[in-house]
Symmetry: C2
Amino acid sequence: AEVKKIAVIAGDGIGPEVVNEAIKVLKRVEELYGYRFEFEHGLFGGIAIDEKGTPLPDETLQMCRSADAVLLGAVGGPKWDNNPKELRPETGLLGIRKELGLFSNLRPAVVFDCLIEASTLKREVLEGTDLIVVRELTGGIYFGDKFRREGPGGEEAVDTSVYSVMEVERIVRQAFEIARKRRKKLASVDKANVLETSRLWRETVNRIAPEYPDVELEHILVDNCAMQLLRRPASFDVIVTENMFGDILSDEAAMLTGSIGMLASASLGEGSFGLYEPVHGSAPDIAGKGIANPLATILSAAMMLRYTFNYADAADSIEKAVQDVLNAGHRTADIAVDSSKAISTEQMGSLVAEHM
Amino acid sequence: AEVKKIAVIAGDGIGPEVVNEAIKVLKRVEELYGYRFEFEHGLFGGIAIDEKGTPLPDETLQMCRSADAVLLGAVGGPKWDNNPKELRPETGLLGIRKELGLFSNLRPAVVFDCLIEASTLKREVLEGTDLIVVRELTGGIYFGDKFRREGPGGEEAVDTSVYSVMEVERIVRQAFEIARKRRKKLASVDKANVLETSRLWRETVNRIAPEYPDVELEHILVDNCAMQLLRRPASFDVIVTENMFGDILSDEAAMLTGSIGMLASASLGEGSFGLYEPVHGSAPDIAGKGIANPLATILSAAMMLRYTFNYADAADSIEKAVQDVLNAGHRTADIAVDSSKAISTEQMGSLVAEHM
Ligand SMILES: CC(C)[C@H](C(=O)O)[C@@H](O)C(=O)O
Ligand SMILES: CC(C)[C@H](C(=O)O)[C@@H](O)C(=O)O
């Protein structure tokens, strides 16, 4: 088989540990399915600040550009939190999204039945929850002009949110396509009663909708969506929204499931290229101890196989192995009921590889 | 006693019904405590659009300006949803906030123990939840420049978010004062890792904080706050944030409690003037049926007595009466377990008045 190049940027905190287990599982995919991967490693985030003086070194960016997909661990930590903007890990994250044109962030929030008790929501409300937030990732208030100026009320700060029809069209079309392959329901989230960008968003959604008559479309205001996610999470299928709202709602949706250590994400651009990373952060408090949960990163690798490489067989096999390992009662400390029985990061990775 | 002028803008849907019961309770306050109120009624929202061609007629605004406080029912409904911007009820709401200088929106989210089962959250997570969101209400992306323009990606829409030091200072100071009268914990919510307005916000909070050494301050990113509200709602006391984040988080917090029909709000400016309204909407589907829950509006009237008039005795008495009526098992349809036993809007108002 053709060799696929995977750029690995393990990052900070538990990043390297969890990424190692995802690589272990990808190597098992090579053995079982005959696919071929080549891994290249680069510096990114806090460690890149320390070693190269910038969170996103040029060589890392070049490495990602020449790869077929990127596997990211996690970035950040208290060490860099008070750095000036250019020397903060988040700046690298925003930079890599923009530079690689990753305009779409897919954030599935799935409830694992055997972990449902970990949620703060009641079982009967949560049961059957399987939604995906499609967040626009390179526009809006994240990337518009930002500055300070003098005003009548003293110093003022300004942020600008901009969306073009083109930017809305491409993310909305992608969301419709994803809905078509799922339960055929799309909720478009905006604040059209207040924002001009939201009115453009809603007009664009309505213009595209007739191309997808098989998908049931609902417009929902962002404040109401924050409520409905709590009230009827299982009723959502695909949620599409702009960058800032998506940041908030995708994290709310993740927390609903109770298993944030289990959630994967994909950031996609045009074509099949994508960056894959766990939803959880770098967890500096447990870094280096070998106890982090690698499943979110392993499931991110499965998303890579599915979305970038089109290896659905291998992706299915990983996802099923994760289920089987959980059903067999294996738990890392973060999801263990009895922490004395918790297994290590490495053990969890090996168990998934064995169950494939 | 001095006569206090209350401007009543009942609005649309169930607005008039629930406002009537709040007035009934305020009249009972006059009898019991010797306070004196004068009620003046004005058109606002959809009904004002129908009758006057604008959601916020000048005479309504004048009436509010010459009053000591405003009692608002609810505005909006499907009838006006597709109107152009100037003819939409929300435009009246944004207009009245700006015109009356109501820069602070207080949104308590309290769990009523006897209604705790109505929440989708587990009892043990929710127990003891008693937080208040202090939302900035006249700045940020709601009121900054909004426009369309041509760009390289076709038509573009632009929204601008602006905050001055003065705007942040006054709301943050108010939040610190409120925290001081409660459990002395303040969470300031921003997105300082991305937004310039948030960086100004955080700097300003940090500059003011030493004036309140007795209040424990926490900075929390908006995406994380959306998660922590779900994970540990009872740990929050006062949450202060900018307009757009406050819109989303205050509704999320409201829904947590499971009793959105019970939640009151106050919008305050400089001095003691305030506008008081229930958190729930106009509920057009049940309007005119006499079955709406008036408790949120009654509790909003209690907030008016507390914050604008400083009649803590009467406010306490209303709040206690509401508790007693609920503890005695009386329920309107929205909170009834057995809907055949539900009482009417009027009955609920009378019961509260009797229990005072
Ligand atoms: C770290 C931060 C800039 C980032 C964002 O807001 O996009 C993070 O919260 C995320 O969601 O990936
Ligand atoms: C109707 C709308 C403009 C308003 C807002 O976003 O402020 C509402 O959601 C609220 O919270 O009072």
